[in-house]
């Protein structure tokens, strides 16, 4: 979708935004509508690397846990390296996944207002509750959100925030447990105590939480399509382009409310 923009205005707003304020920059389209730069480039890159690596990690991970295919050359182990490759791809992707997440954490501090979330405010929980009612088709006072709504934020905290941390801790523990004497081994030894004490429990955590990601993905992708269908504001394309089309007063209203 191409929207006519005014390059002069765009430049000015960029300058303003990059000074100190974390307000998302906006580009007026006409006297009613504005284009809001909701998801900055690092957020979009994070999103797709994250989604792709989770996809690869899940396939290779389930293969590691339950090898659903066997090497085609039988009898001698020498000629194949099927599980070996599955593990290598899993580990390599895991490193990408970890670095990607670290960059996103950095962006929580660096990015615009929509790149962060603060669940330590009462209003966050009140608004999340209104959003729950909204999704249950009940009467509600849910506002219109330009960024993530609080419920979506909560789901990212639980699945992407906490879930990723669990996967990373248990994953690196599993990776380094054969070398308990190495620096890396020592760095992750304590993880076992957090997840039941023995290797089997840690592995079980890793495997079960992996499925949590799949549940999240189903709901998340549905929500993205649904939002797009109901609001017609370019939610779907926003995760590719970064922009959403919003009413001017909504953007102003949201900013005034802060």
């Amino acid at each position: 979708m191409s929207v006519p923009t005014n390059p002069k205005i765009e430049k000015e707003t960029v300058k303003v935004v990059w000074k100190k304020s974390r307000q998302a920059k906006t580009i007026p389209l006409n006297d009613q509508m504005v284009k809001v730069y909701v998801w900055e480039l690092p957020v979009r890159i994070f999103h797709w690397i994250n989604a792709l690596s989770i996809f690869i990690l899940m396939i290779t991970g389930v293969f590691i846990g339950r090898p659903f295919a066997s090497a085609s050359i039988q009898e001698e182990a020498y000629y194949s390296y099927l599980m070996g490759w599955a593990r290598y791809i899993h580990f390599f992707t895991a490193f990408v996944f970890t670095i990607n997440l670290a960059v996103r954490w950095y962006w929580v501090y660096k990015g615009n207002e929509h790149a962060t979330s603060n669940p330590f405010r009462l209003s966050f929980w009140k608004e999340a509750w209104e959003t729950v009612k909204y999704y249950l088709f009940l009467k509600n006072k849910k506002k219109h959100y330009i960024g993530h709504n609080p419920l979506a934020q909560l789901s990212y905290w639980i699945f992407i925030g906490l879930g990723s941390i669990i996967m990373i801790l248990t994953g690196y523990y599993l990776l380094f447990e054969p070398q308990p004497e190495s620096i890396y081994g020592k760095m992750f030894m304590w993880v076992a105590h957090l997840f039941g004490g023995d290797s089997f429990s840690v592995r079980s955590w890793h495997h079960l939480v992996a499925w949590g990601f799949m549940v999240f993905t189903v709901v998340h992708v549905y929500m993205a399509f649904r939002e797009d269908y109901l609001q017609r504001n370019g939610t779907m394309s926003s995760i590719f382009t970064g922009y959403k089309i919003e009413r001017k007063e909504e953007v102003l209203g949201e900013n005034n409310g802060k």
Partner: protein, 359 residues
């Protein structure tokens, strides 16, 4: 009375010094020491006296005792007769009843702070399940532990709770570490532990007068630092992706990896793959049986033995993660579909409504 040194005991029994040196070399190897450190063992054995040992059995199957007496290097005779003086054991003592209890009291008094306490089996929280001669297991253990120089937990029961602690754990069995915390305790888990590991640990204490180096869970590093999976003779088949699917298929005959028939080698720490059993003859995986993880905490509830599962955190229940995961995703997808349908209907209603208003 001055106690005889280990060297003196060996010579008394008609062995030569050469035999003694051989014994020390074998011992050093078992303890995971470098060959060059053999002289340390020799020096220690020349000086130290036989160590009194009290061996208590609680909720156990005597399997650990059975394993112990099959040690081939050091030979169990040399451990039993030369290195330690086993003052109290239910399985091996000729004496019994009050007589043997006297012997235990005697050691506890005269060798206070010097004797080693060996424990086989877990302890019940409820005394009704294990009280001998009017004294509860807990009491016996705590009393005997008081004067012990160190405590060795032989087997998975005393180390982790073991089979008595298996679901639903009727006796509320606990490992010995639950009852005594102020003593050095070495865990030597396994169901049973390998004989040479058992004697190796005791030999280390006698030789050096200190505990062997322990890992983060309190197990001697020399024997528990490696994972079965990383030393397994079938590992090449694992990496290749060649798996036995059942116990009677072609893969099983070819010696493929036993992962898919439930092998717990990837989560098990023990010396089986290196030291092997029965004097180094073989070990379960080599003989075609998957590892059941017998030296791991909770192995009794991580079953079934021949199926790969995941454990529900903080429970004693295992599930097939793929089945449960697929069901969870399926239920979610169904919920999403229903939600989508309602959303579409509502939107249509709203649109009709809006159109009505505009007219």
């Amino acid at each position: 009375m001055k106690r005889k040194t280990i060297l003196e005991t060996v010579l008394d029994r008609g062995f030569t010094r050469r035999d003694f040196l051989k014994m020390c070399t074998a011992l050093a190897a078992t303890m995971g020491l470098d060959f060059s450190e053999t002289d340390k063992v020799v020096a220690a054995m020349e000086k130290s006296a036989r160590v009194p040992v009290i061996w208590l059995q609680f909720q156990d199957c005597t399997g650990c005792s059975e394993s112990f007496i099959r040690s081939t290097h050091p030979k169990v005779e040399s451990v039993l007769l030369d290195m330690i003086s086993l003052e109290y054991t239910e399985a091996l003592s000729a004496a019994s009843g009050h007589q043997i209890e006297e012997a235990r009291k005697h050691v506890m008094k005269h060798y206070y702070g010097e004797y080693i306490l060996v424990v086989e089996g877990s302890l019940p929280m409820d005394d009704a399940f294990l009280t001998v001669g009017g004294v509860s297991a807990k009491e016996t253990f705590i009393e005997t532990a008081k004067g012990a120089k160190a405590i060795i937990a032989y087997g998975s029961c005393s180390s982790w709770g073991g089979i008595p602690a298996a679901y639903p754990n009727p006796t509320k069995a606990k490992p010995i570490t639950h009852f005594v915390k102020d003593k050095p305790i070495i865990l030597v888990p396994g169901c049973p532990p390998i004989a040479e590991v058992m004697t190796g640990v005791i030999a280390h204490i006698i030789t050096f007068g200190t505990l062997p180096e322990l890992d983060h869970l309190g197990r001697p590093k020399a024997f528990y630092r490696h994972r079965i999976h990383d030393k397994c003779n079938r590992r090449a088949y694992f990496d290749a992706g060649l798996f036995a699917e059942s116990f009677d298929d072609e893969g099983a005959k070819q010696g493929y990896c036993l992962y898919k028939v439930g092998c717990k080698g990837p989560t098990t720490y023990n010396s089986c793959a290196e030291m092997r059993w029965n004097g180094g003859v073989s070990y379960p995986i080599q003989s075609g049986n998957p590892c059941i993880g017998c030296s791991e905490k909770g192995f009794w509830d991580n079953g079934p033995f021949y199926v790969r599962r995941a454990k529900i955190p903080a429970s004693q229940t295992t599930i097939n993660p793929e089945t449960v995961g697929a069901i969870a995703v399926g239920v979610t997808a169904a919920g999403v579909a229903a939600h989508a349908a309602i959303t579409a209907v509502k939107k249509k209603e709203q649109e009709n409504h809006d159109r009505g208003e505009r007219k």
